[in-house]
């Protein structure tokens, strides 16, 4: 049996935050927590891509592109990364086995459609799930899936099938890990926090166009008011259900990642004792609460309890209000004077 003895499984809200945090802690960044990884990686986002449909519904995301949180956090903390994709399944398996035999714990990108331990209801063709493989014994691979309370395992066949799932974002057996162990100083974390916040401010309030950032939230809000006339009540309800799933399903920590970001700002305050951070954290909590109130309104519609144009207008207005709250929060962050 081969396994990495330093590796410690910690449950996280989101898979990529969890893999990033757990791999980097094992590599020497002991201070790292899920909110810190999320914030340093500038994870908070909003975008609705027009013309694109996912599972026959609107394409909406509350976080940044898959893979970026890990990449940015490693770069900000000056930890070199090794990342490999494979054209052949055999080569992918051989490489993983070599890593594990050398005592490494590695991150793996997988598809969830064939992920056997997931409940059937969650198994869509979503290919950007992340897990850590930290050992193997005979035919079993030891798996730490950050969204789960405990570690689990997959057979060789099961693991190969999810590593080489096909379709959009096909993982192609992707394996990634920190190349070397490095002690990360508090001074580095301090700098990384500032960098992460500044980049997130850019993404949320300075991005051009009106489909992303705080403007994207308002864009969806205006769209929602038009949905009943454009799509009919039934489909408009399905679209709202999709919005709620993107906002609340596995991994957001509640309120479309807004609570994780609020927690991040509190942790940032420990490194940068600037009073404004605590106040701005509260604004993000307010935004998260509003997102959840909006979800309750949406559920009234897709349950068929309500569904008049006025009900869709209330729903749309929620998003317009949230857009203003998040604009205010990021503008306040952009004005902070960081002391080195």
């Amino acid at each position: 049996m081969f396994m990495n003895n330093d590796f410690q499984h910690l449950q996280a809200a989101h898979c990529e935050n969890g893999v990033t945090t757990n791999l980097l802690r094992a590599a020497g960044a002991k201070q790292l927590t899920e909110p810190l990884s999320f914030g340093i990686g500038s994870g908070l986002f909003y975008v609705q891509l027009p013309f694109l449909k996912i599972n026959n519904g609107p394409a909406i995301a509350f976080r940044t592109m898959p893979g970026l949180i890990f990449k940015r956090t490693c770069t900000a903390l000056n930890i070199p990364v090794s990342r490999k994709k494979f054209s052949s399944q055999e080569a992918g398996k051989r490489y993983l086995d070599e890593c594990l035999d050398a005592g490494k714990a590695v991150g793996a990108q997988v598809g969830v459609y064939y992920l056997t331990y997931f409940p059937k209801e969650y198994r869509f063709h979503f290919n950007a799930h992340n897990m850590i493989v930290f050992g193997r014994e005979e035919d079993k691979y030891l798996i730490s899936d950050p969204v789960m309370e405990t570690v689990t395992s997959l057979t060789d066949y099961e693991l190969q099938r999810v590593r080489f799932a096909k379709g959009a974002f096909a993982p192609r057996g992707q394996i990634y890990f920190p190349k070397e162990n490095r002690i990360v100083t508090d001074e580095q974390v301090k700098k990384a926090i500032v960098k992460g916040i500044k980049r997130n401010v850019n993404h949320m309030i300075r991005i051009p166009g009106n489909i992303a950032g705080y403007k994207g939230i308002a864009y969806t809000g205006r769209q929602i008011k038009k949905w009943p006339a454009k799509l009919g009540r039934h489909k408009a309800g399905l679209y709202l259900a999709q919005l709620v799933r993107m906002q609340e399903e596995i991994g957001t920590g509640g309120g479309g990642f807004r609570y994780i970001y609020a927690a991040f700002l509190q942790e940032a305050h420990a490194y940068h004792p600037i009073d404004e951070l605590i106040g701005i954290s509260k604004i993000f909590t307010e935004a998260g609460d509003k997102w959840r109130n909006a979800a309750v309104q949406a559920s009234g519609i897709y349950k068929g309890r309500i569904g008049s144009q006025a009900d869709f207008d209330v729903m749309g207005d929620y998003l317009l209000e949230i857009s203003e709250i998040e604009k205010k929060a990021f503008q306040a962050l952009s004005k902070i004077k960081w002391n080195a």
Partner: protein
């Protein structure tokens, strides 16, 4: 969200694990806690699945009326779009669109049928008859 407001409803994920949520305590400080699920999102997932099941039923009826080939039924059953079928079978998208026609499908050689059967995780016989019980 405050710690005492965490919903503990039933959700599909509950069979596997509780999930982490970020909540505040009385002093406003953040920590994590576990939730078994939230009825609002359980229902969102339910309606998504009702819609999928509806699409599967409609696809099956279309195939039985000879207006489409069984590939349409299995695409819906496996939650795939043409892009995903193309990725798993290696066929071009326009080829698959042709194979979606009942008449064209009937003339396909076994080799090609086998590729679809593998992609849908069924046997060639099941592919032709739509006879799957799962």
């Amino acid at each position: 969200m405050k710690k005492e407001e965490i919903p503990q409803d039933n959700g599909a994920l509950n069979k596997l694990t509780k999930e982490v949520v970020y909540v505040t305590d009385d002093s406003g400080k953040y920590s994590t806690d576990l939730s078994t699920g939230w009825e609002v999102k359980t229902k969102a997932l339910d309606v998504a699945w009702q819609e999928i099941e509806q699409r599967i039923r409609e696809a099956k009826e279309k195939v039985l009326r000879d207006e489409a080939s069984p590939i349409l039924y299995f695409m819906e059953l496996r939650l795939m779009d043409i892009g995903i079928v193309a990725a798993y079978t290696g066929f071009w998208k326009w080829t698959i669109k042709k194979h979606l026609k009942a008449g064209v499908f009937r003339k396909l050689p076994d080799g090609k049928l086998k590729k679809y059967a593998d992609a849908f995780n069924v046997t060639v016989d099941q592919l032709k008859t739509m006879n799957v019980h799962e």
